[in-house]
Amino acid sequence: MTDSDTPTQTPTAAPATSGRVVLSVRNLSTSFRTDHGLATAVTDVSFDLYAGEALGIVGESGCGKSVTSKSIMRLLPEHNTRYGSNSEVLLGSDNLLKHTARQMQEVRGNRIGMIFQEPMTALNPVFTIGWQIDEALKLHTSLDRHQRRQKGIEMLKMVDMPSAERRYDEYPHQLSGGMRQRVLIAMALCCEPEILIADEPTTALDVTIQAQILKLMNELRARTGTAVLLITHDLGVVAQTCDRVVVMYAGQVVETAGVSDLFHRPAHPYTSALLKSIPQSGARRTKGERLPTIDGLVPGLFEMPTGCRFADRCEFCEQKCRDEQPGVTSAQPDRNVRCHFPLNPDASRSTHESA
C-alpha cells in the first residue's frame, strides 16, 4: 500500500522516556492548487509522537504548522489539496492520507481528538453544548441516551466546568471564552482518543484563563495518558507544557529537540534568533535593551529559494547555504536539525546569559 523506502532522512528522535510511537508523520508535503499554480505549504515534514508525551510544534504565522495538523486530520478541502506521493501519516499501521472519508470519520473524534483556536467558532451556536458532546458519543460509542448524558456531564466535570449539570443544557453564547475552551476539550476527549491535537488552544484567551487551561491539559494528560500535539506560536506555552519541540520555518521542520535542549542549546540559527527576539521578564529581564531581531521576511510560497529557506535572514549564512538545500541531520539521538552549519550545542549556551 505504501512504499517503505523513504528517500530523505527521517528523524528518529526518541525522547528520554522512549515509549511507543502513536503517530508518525513521514515526509509530509501538502500543496494547494491555486490560480497561481501549485502552492506547497508544507514540505517534507517528519516527526513522531510518542504515547503520553506532549510534543509542541512552534513557528511563526504562515510556517505551515496548522496545515500540518489539518493534514493529519484530513481537514483540508479535498478538491484542491495534494499530498506528496511518499507522504505518510501513520496511526498504528494505517496511513491516514489513504483513508476514505468514511474511514476518517472513524478516526476523527474517536482515535484523534482536536481542539481549535477559536472556541466560539468551533462550537455550533444553535445547539446546546450537551447536544454537541452527545454527537461524538452517538457516533463512536454504543452507549444509550441516558448513559451518554451521564458521560457528557462526567466529561464536563472532568474539565472542571462549574455546575456541569446545568451547563450541559446551555448554549455556547451563555459561556465565557475559557468555559467554551473547556467544552471543546471535553468534546475532544469524550471518546478517550490516543492523541489530542491542540491548535493554538490558548491564543484567544487571557493569561489567567490560559494558565487554567494549560494546567487542565497537563493534568488530563497525566491522568488519561493521551499524547498531545500542541501547535502554538507562543514559546512560553511550549516551555511550560511540552516534552519535545518541533520548530517549523517556511513549511519545513528546521529543528526537533527536547524542550530543555531547545531553549538552552538551540542548534538552528532560526530557533536561536527566535528565542532571542522575545522580551524576557523576571531575573533575566531585557528591560530597555534593544531586542535582537530577525531581519527580512519569510520567503513567499512561490519564491522559495533553492538553498536553505532561512539563508537570507541568517547571520551565519555562507555560499553553500544559498546553493544547496540542507538535509535533516541528527547530531544526537534525540535531536535533528536542518542546517549546513548547526550551532555548536555547547557554545550556543549563551542564548540567555544565565545569571
Partner: protein, 324 residues
C-alpha cells in the same frame, strides 16, 4: 508638571433594550481612573480583555466622550480641538486601520495637508522623511496596504501617527497582532523614535513581558479600575496587589527548567454590567475579607512610584474594626 493628567475618568456605555429602546443598564467600562504621565515617560496599561484598557485609551484621546471626569494635556482640557495634533493613537490591527484604497503616500499626505504641517510644496519630501523614520523605503509611498506585511503596515500606522508631530502617542496593543520576530522590530523602532523625538508613550497591552520590557511604569487595570501602579524596574519584587501577583505568575516563562506550578487564579472576570460593590477583584481574590466585599478600597500611595488599591496591603487586618 505632568504632560497628561487624568482625573476621576469614567466611561460607561448604555445598554438599550425593551419595547421603546430605553436605556436598561450600562456597562461601566472605565471607573474612576486617576493617573498622570510625565513628559518623556512611557507608561504601560495592562489588564485582561474587558478590563477597560482600550476604552481608557480611546477616552483619553477623545474618540469616546467621557461620561465624567477630566483629561488635561498640559493643563488644557483635551476636548479642545487644538490638542488633536498633540496626541495620536495607534490601533491594534495594522490592516483594518489603513484605508485599502489609498496608497501609503496618499494616506500620509492627506494627514499632512489636513493639518497643514508643512507647506504644500514640501509634502512629498516630508512623506519621504516620515517613511524613512519608520525604516520603509521611499518607494513604499506607491504601495497599497495589502502589498505590505503586517510589520510594515504597523510601521505605516506609526508614520501616519507621527506625521502631525505629536508629543503623546497612545498605542493600543501595537504589537499583539504580530509574530515575535516582527514584534521585536516594532518595539525597537518605537524605542528609537521615543529617543529621537522625545515622545511620551501610553502603551496599552495585555502582554506583561512586552510592558515590562518597554515601559517605565505600569498601570494594572481590573474591571474598569486601576488596582495598582508601579515602576517596571523590578515588578516581581514590587508587585503588591494580589491581581498583579497573579498576572505575574500566570505569565508562562520561556524556560522549561523553571516550570513550577502555573499559578491558577480561579474563576473569571465578573461582568462590567454589574460589578461587585466592594473591591473589583474580590470574587477571585485568595485573601478577600468581609470588608473587601462591601467597601471599595481606594488607591493609596506607597513610596514614590507605587499606588495600590487593596485593603490587605494598605491597612492590614488589625485596622479592620476602625473601617466601619
Amino acid at each position: 508638571m505632568s504632560l497628561l493628567e487624568v482625573r476621576n475618568l469614567e466611561k460607561s456605555f448604555p445598554i438599550k433594550g425593551g419595547l421603546l429602546n430605553r436605556t436598561v443598564a450600562s456597562v461601566q467600562a472605565v471607573r474612576d481612573v486617576t493617573f498622570s504621565v510625565d513628559s518623556g515617560e512611557t507608561v504601560g496599561i495592562i489588564g485582561e480583555s474587558g478590563c477597560g484598557k482600550s476604552t481608557l485609551g480611546k477616552t483619553i484621546v477623545g474618540l469616546y466622550p467621557a461620561t465624567s471626569g477630566t483629561v488635561h494635556f498640559e493643563d488644557i482640557l483635551t476636548s479642545d480641538a487644538k490638542l488633536h495634533r498633540q496626541m495620536q493613537f495607534i490601533f491594534q490591527d495594522p490592516y483594518s486601520s489603513l484605508n485599502p484604497r489609498m496608497t501609503a503616500g496618499q494616506m500620509l499626505s492627506e494627514v499632512i495637508r489636513f493639518h497643514d504641517i508643512v507647506p504644500p510644496a514640501q509634502t512629498t519630501s516630508y512623506v519621504h522623511e516620515l517613511l524613512a523614520m519608520v525604516q520603509l523605503g521611499s518607494d513604499a509611498q506607491y504601495r497599497y496596504p495589502h502589498e505590505f506585511s503586517g510589520g510594515q503596515r504597523q510601521r505605516l500606522n506609526i508614520a501616519r501617527a507621527l506625521a502631525v508631530k505629536p508629543r503623546l502617542l497612545i498605542a493600543d496593543e501595537p504589537v499583539s497582532a504580530l509574530d515575535v520576530s516582527v514584534q521585536a522590530q516594532i518595539l525597537n523602532l518605537l524605542m528609537d523614535l521615543r529617543e529621537q523625538l522625545g515622545l511620551t508613550i501610553l502603551f496599552i497591552s495585555h502582554d506583561l513581558k512586552v510592558v515590562e520590557h518597554f515601559c517605565d511604569r505600569m498601570i494594572v487595570m481590573y474591571l474598569g479600575k486601576v488596582v495598582e501602579q508601579l515602576s517596571c524596574e523590578d515588578i516581581y519584587r514590587d508587585a503588591k496587589h494580589p491581581y498583579t501577583k497573579a498576572l505575574l505568575k500566570s505569565n508562562p516563562i520561556n524556560d522549561p527548567d523553571d516550570r513550577g506550578d502555573l499559578f491558577i487564579l480561579e474563576g473569571e472576570v465578573p461582568s462590567p454590567r454589574d460589578p461587585p460593590p466592594g473591591c473589583p477583584f474580590v470574587s477571585r481574590c485568595e485573601i478577600a475579607e468581609d470588608r473587601c466585599r462591601t467597601n471599595p478600597p481606594s488607591l493609596v500611595q506607597l513610596g514614590d512610584q507605587q499606588q495600590v488599591s487593596c485593603w490587605a496591603v494598605t491597612s492590614p487586618a488589625t485596622a479592620n474594626a476602625s473601617e466601619g
